[in-house]
């Protein structure tokens, strides 16, 4: 049995030995972390562990006992607001990478003070996107952060 805070609620889960967090979450209908690579390279399984972006595909669920786990479902208003800026910039395509990106942007907005293009690129480097070419995403994130000031 593992107990952790998931999107603001304390939850307990029975897990198998060696179970990864992505599988625990998806089995319990939290589907925003998705499986893209199995080698922690692509970013689509990103979750926040104590507010820091981590790949849930390589994180044993047992390791997050007593920790705070946030998925995009837990930052719904933030994600909805960000999506409006993605829409304005035409940065939406297949969207498989979007929830992970939203979480990293959230972490960046909590952590960094002076965010410029390089900061955004740095936070997004672990989020592969094969659709957009990245520039529209970067612009959307920048405009979103400006809009929040």
């Amino acid at each position: 049995m593992v107990t952790f805070e998931l999107n603001g609620q304390i939850k307990s889960f029975h897990i198998d030995q060696g179970e990864f967090l992505i599988d625990t979450l998806r089995r319990h209908h939290v589907v925003s972390p998705r499986r893209g690579c199995d080698t922690t390279s692509c970013g689509v399984c990103t979750v926040l562990i104590d507010d820091q972006p981590m790949p849930s595909c390589a994180l044993l669920t047992a390791r997050v006992n007593d920790k705070k786990v946030t998925t995009v479902e837990g930052i719904a208003d933030f994600a909805a607001e960000l999506s409006a800026y993605f829409g304005k910039e035409g940065a939406d395509q297949c969207g498989f990478c979007n929830p992970g990106i939203a979480l990293s942007v959230y972490a960046m907005a909590q952590t960094e003070e002076n965010i410029d293009d390089d900061t955004i690129r740095h936070y997004l480097v672990g989020h592969l996107c094969r659709c957009s070419g990245y520039v529209s995403q970067t612009k959307a994130i920048k405009a979103f952060l400006e809009g929040r000031k």
Binding site: S83, A84, L124, V125, R130, C131, S132, S136
Partner: protein
């Protein structure tokens, strides 16, 4: 006719962006039943072998294992997984699971178990005794090799495509206009070079995924991350001998495709086991499986000869191509033909042109459809050799292009000769703003400010460019259809077979419908790609959706408008001509009724009926989008390392239905093309094993490589397209390889002729050049 448009040519946000960003259930894996059996495939460790015996007893003993199927459990129905129109121009050379394995990753057995852990355990418990053969791994030695990749009987072509498995040939092609050899001999200058392109991987972020179940009406329902749901249904029916009427294929949200999901992959296995057990099944490919056991781009060697007069008139182009289709011949002929047909017409004023070659089988991961589809390979070769010719003529490569490239109102004999697997369609370029694209691109990139180079010590800044063309669907073959349904309260459903795989086709097709019905985009609810509920569409490939499916939506909207006017005329008791409809209200001289009231009356009160308009469209031509692409780089002469500073694209795709989404198509294509040009290695060991089979080792561009992209559209209006549009899905990918090769030449004077263009290749070419001096 150009008119000001309210919804089309506006940068609306994707209709589905918010729900996707918020992580809602949308993709195939999200929609699988919780109790679905998990499927795992035992894959071949050998590049070429025959299964002597296979023992599944121990696997079946493991608690939780439902079944294990091998080649013995499938009827030997030869088919092609290509996912093309029927009859397919690809050889029927694949069996569901075969006694032969033809590449590392080929299917040996499939396990269904209660969970992934059990399935993996069962896979490990299967023992196989192989008769291992020497594989054909070098595609340049495949033709007439002693080893035959397909020695078996029962494989065939649907019509002549040059299929000759006894010579390891999946397909072949030859066409010639005038006498190329004679014309080359008589040319003042001839340049000759061979170019190599690699087996690029698609790397769509969502791996191939399928789930299958039997519904309460005993129908097989398949959710698949596919680009071609109707082709999936047809192929499953053919292979498993299930009537089409028993199969429903639903395409949920798809996490990218780029051609990699045009073919079917796990669908047959999932369908088979669900039919066998009556239980739901789910199969999600691992990333390693996506790399090793789906598709790649066709690697090619292209031998080019180009001739010109002293003053720079190109007289002849001769291209021999050798294409590697890997173990199966999916898209073998058609990709190869596009290498000629969507590249060579760029220089349409030649006296003679020849395109010919072979598509060979080898024992490596099959090649298949991939954005660009042969054109990117051809463009790399042709647009590289154009710069080489310019250098030999001592002429500005821009001027050489401007003198020889295709222009509005012109044609090329190639359009009529070469189609996709068949003869082509004669057409004139009613829109071709290539000259503008080039001129504007030079201005935006400040080309002559840098050209040919600016040197600061070891750092050299330079630019390189290429022009490109693509198509808009496959004329007379691929059809798209749309249904518009009027609901009460006056909102519409748009049902299309067209397959949104992330490119935003649901949004742009709704924009076309909204424009036609003069309504808001929010008033059109779209459903795409459910083989039971939406009309047919060939699928998302061949740059067809905007032009072909878009024209179907345009026609359906016009048809719906006619129906609405007829009903309004009846209610208002006037002639149709006497009504003015602004999208919300029907007005006659003395009376009016709102669409809302009319639709409510039609549902509940008076002469009740359902208004539904269905239209279909098949192209009579394939108007090409055109573009000029210019890359700006900084090369370090000491290391061969380079940085991409900017990529300027100016594109003629007619009227972009949604400028933001069209830009997304172009920029996404550019970056994927840059990946092929510069970063993406697909090496194999001598035994045919892919070395870069995960995302740690196979490097696609990240935010660190891509800093600036400059993208613009030319003012252009294609009369035959919906609201003036041509398609735009592929054109973006074509130019980066040649543009980068030309930029490297401009920077450091070495010509790289094989992809990817790595620092190692650049540095060793620089050293070689220095040694020769």
């Amino acid at each position: 006719m150009k008119t000001k448009m309210a919804t089309v040519n506006q940068p609306h946000a994707s209709k589905d962006g918010k729900g996707i960003m918020m992580g809602r259930k949308a993709y195939t894996d999200d929609l699988a039943p919780a109790d679905a059996l998990i499927l795992k495939v035992l894959r071949s460790p050998h590049a070429f072998a025959k299964i002597k015996s296979i023992d599944t007893k121990n696997a079946l003993k493991i608690p939780g294992v439902e079944c294990v199927l091998t080649h013995k459990d499938f009827k030997r129905n030869a088919h092609t997984r290509a996912g093309q129109g029927y009859p397919e121009p690809s050889p029927h050379d694949k069996f569901p699971i075969d006694e032969y394995v033809r590449y590392i990753g080929d299917e040996v057995a499939v396990v269904a178990a209660i969970d992934e852990k059990t399935a993996i355990k069962a896979i490990a418990a299967i023992t196989v005794d192989y008769d291992v053969f020497t594989p054909v791994t070098d595609f340049e030695k495949a033709k007439n090799n002693q080893t035959l990749v397909h020695p078996e009987d029962g494989i065939y072509e649907m019509f002549p495509i040059g299929f000759d498995p006894k010579k390891n040939l999946a397909a072949g092609y030859h066409m010639e206009v005038a006498d190329v050899e004679k014309t080359l001999k008589e040319s003042d200058v001839v340049v000759e070079e061979s170019f190599y392109t690699q087996a690029q991987a698609h790397v769509m972020l969502e791996p191939h995924t399928v789930n299958a179940q039997i519904d309460y009406n005993d129908r097989l329902v398949i959710h698949s991350a596919t680009q071609t749901p109707f082709h999936v249904r047809r192929i499953i029916s053919q292979v498993l001998e299930v009537p089409l009427s028993k199969i429903r294929v639903i395409k949920p949200r798809v996490g990218g495709g780029f051609g990699g999901k045009q073919a079917i992959h796990g669908e047959i296995l999932a369908a088979k086991i669900t039919l066998l057990t009556g239980k739901a099944t789910k199969m999600v490919y691992t990333r390693k499986e996506v790399f090793e056991a789906t598709y790649t781009r066709h690697p090619m060697r292209l031998d080019l000869k180009i001739g010109a007069t002293k003053d720079g008139k190109i007289t002849a182009i001769d291209c021999y191509g050798l294409s590697d289709t890997g173990a199966y011949g999916e898209h073998a002929l058609t990709v190869f033909m596009v290498t000629g047909s969507k590249v060579l017409p760029l220089y349409n004023k030649v006296d003679a042109v020849r395109f010919h070659g072979d598509v060979v089988y080898t024992n490596r991961t099959p090649a298949g459809a991939y954005r660009g589809y042969g054109a990117i390979q051809g463009n790399f070769a042709l647009e590289s050799i154009i710069d080489m010719l310019a250098a030999k003529l001592n002429m500005d490569p821009i001027k050489l292009r401007q003198k020889n490239m295709i222009a509005e109102g012109e044609t090329s004999p190639i359009f009529e000769i070469m189609g996709e697997g068949t003869e082509g369609t004669a057409m004139y370029m009613e829109t071709c703003k290539l000259d503008y694209c080039l001129t504007r691109g030079l201005k935006l990139s400040q080309w002559y400010h840098t050209y040919p180079r600016k040197v600061h010590g070891d750092k050299v800044r330079a630019q390189g460019m290429a022009i490109a063309m693509q198509g808009s669907g496959i004329p007379y073959i691929d059809m798209g259809a749309a249904t518009i349904k009027l609901n009460d309260d006056g909102f519409y459903n748009l049902m299309v077979g067209a397959t949104d795989i992330g490119q935003g086709s649901d949004t742009i097709l709704a924009q076309i419908a909204a424009e036609g019905l003069k309504t808001d985009l929010e008033n059109v609810a779209v459903y795409s790609s459910d083989s039971d509920l939406t009309p047919f569409d060939a699928g998302a490939y061949a740059s067809s959706t905007t032009y072909v499916s878009g024209n179907a939506v345009y026609k359906a909207a016009k048809e719906m408008e006619k129906m609405l006017l007829k009903e309004a005329a009846r209610v208002l008791k006037v002639d149709i001509d006497a009504i003015d409809f602004d999208g919300e209200t029907f007005k006659s001289k003395d009376d009016e009724i709102t669409l809302k009231d009319l639709s409510n009356q039609l549902y509940y009160n008076d002469e009740q009926k359902q208004l539904t308009a269905t239209a279909s469209y098949v192209g009579h031509k394939s108007p090409p989008p055109f573009m000029a692409g210019i890359i700006a780089i900084e090369v370090d002469k000491a290391t061969g390392e380079f940085e991409v500073l900017d990529y300027t694209s100016v594109v003629d795709c007619g009227v972009p239905i949604n400028p933001n989404l069209a830009k997304g198509q172009v920029e996404g294509g550019i970056v994927q093309g840059l990946g092929m040009a510069a970063y993406e290695l697909a090496d194999r060991t001598k035994n045919g094993k892919l070395i870069q089979a995960d995302l740690l080792n196979y490097k696609i561009p990240t935010t660190m490589e891509i800093k600036t992209l400059t993208t613009e559209f030319a003012a252009s209006y294609e009369e035959s397209g919906p609201y003036g549009a041509k398609s735009v899905g592929e054109i973006g990918i074509d130019t980066p390889p040649a543009a980068l090769a030309n930029a490297i030449y401009n920077a450091v004077g070495v010509r790289i002729t094989s992809l990817p263009i790595t620092p190692e290749k650049i540095l060793s070419a620089i050293k070689e050049k220095e040694n020769m001096q």
